[in-house]
């Protein structure tokens, strides 16, 4: 009996000590050369600014990619598709409101989560897009580079949003991805060239739209952080 107690006490001590260690030991950060340095902390506002910058850049690059693709591959009469905003090619687990009033009523938590969800939902399709673009004979290098760049930036954006969630909402994200594609249209082979072109075009348009969403949400979030009164619906 004593032995069991002693064992339990010892286990408690060990677990507590490990917990204390995990909190005490700072995160190992690496600078450019790869050597370990002390992590530099960043304020929440700065982090949010950086996240917004990321989102803005992604949005702008997505628009440029869409234009490049359109000029290169899409026949002129079909340029109108852009205005139409693309077709919904996969359903989301929860609808995102489109009106300003509704969006203004969304909570911070919901905003962040939806941004995260959007980011995570686009990681796979963009990787797929890169492979399909490589299949084209004369895809411009700028387009390929931009697509690649966007994929990389999405990853960092996801990390930033996760940290924001943890900081602002005091939540921990346990699972990296809570979203799964309900529809994978790319599994189907598409022998026709025009059809594949249209599909990629649609993908780019939709991505641009979603990037705009991310940016808008994050900016709204920032507005709320700085001045709550002016951001509310009037």
């Amino acid at each position: 009996m004593n032995r069991v107690k002693v064992l339990q006490a010892w286990l408690w001590c060990v677990s507590l000590w490990s917990c204390w260690l995990s909190h005490a030991i700072p995160l190992d950060c690496k600078d450019e050369t790869g050597s370990l340095i002390q992590c530099t902390s960043i304020s929440q506002e700065k982090l949010l600014d950086r996240v917004i910058q990321h989102a803005e850049l992604i949005y702008r690059v997505s628009e440029e990619s869409c234009t490049l693709f359109e000029d290169m591959f899409v026949p002129y009469p079909l340029h109108a598709l852009r205005n139409q905003g693309g077709t919904v090619w996969h359903t989301k687990p929860f609808p995102i409101p489109g009106s300003k009033t509704e969006i203004q009523q969304i909570s911070d938590k919901w905003l962040l989560h939806s941004v995260l969800m959007l980011v995570q939902s686009w990681m796979e399709p963009l990787i797929y897009l890169q492979t399909t673009l490589n299949r084209y004979d004369d895809a411009p290098d700028a387009l390929l580079n931009k697509t690649k760049w966007v994929s990389d930036k999405l990853l960092s954006l996801e990390q930033g949003v996760v940290v924001l969630i943890r900081k602002m909402l005091d939540e921990g994200i346990l699972t990296p991805s809570v979203f799964e594609h309900t529809l994978t249209p790319y599994d189907e082979p598409s022998p026709e060239v025009l059809e594949s072109i249209l599909r990629d075009y649609n993908l780019l348009i939709c991505f641009k739209k979603d990037a705009h969403k991310m940016e808008t949400f994050l900016k709204l979030l920032k507005c709320r952080q700085s001045n709550k009164l002016s951001c509310l619906s009037y």
Binding site: T87, G98, S99, K100, H212, T216, C223
Partner: protein, 602 residues
Amino acid sequence: MAYSLSLGLLYLGLLCGNGLVSARSELFTPDPSRGPHFTGCRSREQETFRCWWSAGIFQNLTEPGALRVFYQTKNFLSEWQECPDYTRTVKNECYFNKTFTQIWTSYCIQLRSVRENITYDEACFTVENIVHPDPPIGLNWTLLNVSRSGLHFDVLVRWAPPPSADVQMGWMSLVYQVQYRVRNNSHWEMLDLESGTQQSIYGLHTDKEYEVRVRCKMSAFDNFGEFSGSIIVHVAQIPSKESTFPTTLVLIFGVIGVVILLVLLIFSQQQRLMVIFLPPIPAPKIKGIDPELLKNGKLDQLNSLLSSQDMYKPDFYHEDPWVEFIQLDLDDPAEKNESSDTQHLLGVSRSGSSHVLNFKSDDDSGRASCYDPEIPNPEDLASLLPGHSGRGDNHPLVSRSSSSIPDLGVQQTKEVEETPIQTQPAVPSWVNMDFLCQVSDFTPAGGVVLSPGQLNSSPEKKKEEENEKKIQFQLLSDGAYTSENTARQLSASVPPSPGPEQGYQTFPTQAVEGNLWNGEYLVSTSDSQTPYLLPEAPPAPILPPVSDYTVVQEVDAQHSLLLNPPSSQPAICPHSPNKHLPAMPTMPMGYLTPDLLGNLTP
């Protein structure tokens, strides 16, 4: 499956609708040739939007209510709904307010005639793609700076975003474009897109009025809004004539001063400048001759100068050189006493070999050595006297300068192996030197060995001085003569030579090879040489007094001089010189005239 369906719908929509969607810029311009159609849809702030249509050629549909607009959102509602608000004030306008406006969703609108149930026009779009923002407000400018010259200036232009656009919330992110032009000009200058609310304009001209305006659009979209009102930018030119006036004055005065300085400089340094710019042409000159001399006309000096020029001509000695240099005393019978000299000189034959005086012309004129007042060492002179066999292969005696004399002296000493040649250290004769050279030996190669002349000719001394080669150099103005005196001395000092037949004067070389005389000069034999050559000779043999002169008996075929033997051996050469002229080294008494020479020359 759903995807392919949506694609098919897309195609349908495209086929049916060809209105405003295909041409974005076409707005508010109804096409009268067409039927009822949409003329455009616009949103100002991304929260509401309006659509307009036109009846077109169908005039019977212009009354209100004949044409109706139906819309459909593609998100979740598939039903066609009618326009929520037909604007009363504006004709043919459908207004969608906030509740009906959703971004990120695509709308489709249709223009229908309900009575006839005909859809005349259809268009699909998303709201953010039809946003044309309002123009910015509050455009103003401030002066940044003015250039030094006062001709250019820079301004900073500021504005505010349109109030309708909710930029603060981030609902709309706007970018601006500033344009400016000179007033009443037709061309607008466009600057780059600016995301901020201010921009600077550089390089504007003063005294010109500029118009500035600005417009904005949503970033990542293409639709610009309307321009804001133009503002006038004008900066008056600051009158700065006062500042320019002194500078021009200073410039003018500076230039004038520099010009004056230059003129003064030129005038002061005129001579030098003339030399630099117009160098004098050199007059023709001959080396060594003073033009003044020519003018004054002193012939003697002129002659000497001119002749000195010819001193080193190589052709000189090819033409009867010895005639000019050698002064022969053929008429003097007393010269017979000098047969010993000649014998000595021609002593090469005593040894059995007959050598011919080679009187080759030598490029090296021996005059210089005779002219040279420097007198070599007594040793050198001793070497020249008889007893000295024709030593040296190339020994142009007189042709050499005095520096050659040491060589001779050395050779002489070498020759007489066991006869140490004592040379009198006293060199009195060098001070009072005669101007005649005493040729004492001829080298086989034809060089002439000069012997030192004796000033104090005492028999005893002469004896003693046999070995010492004193050369009396007597320089003549025009040649290396061996004076008669010296020749006589030489010949007198010559001891009786063994053979009178030996026309050649040799030095005690009977035991050694004969001499070949070369050169242009007479060689005065020093003595009969015998006492010098013999190893049994006394340790300090003295040169017999030798005569300085000798007589050229003949010139052989090789232009060698055949000299008379010394006078101590008068019997040696009793023969007439003429006998031997054609052939052999006998010694004719007397001088050799040019005629004889002419006979002798081959």
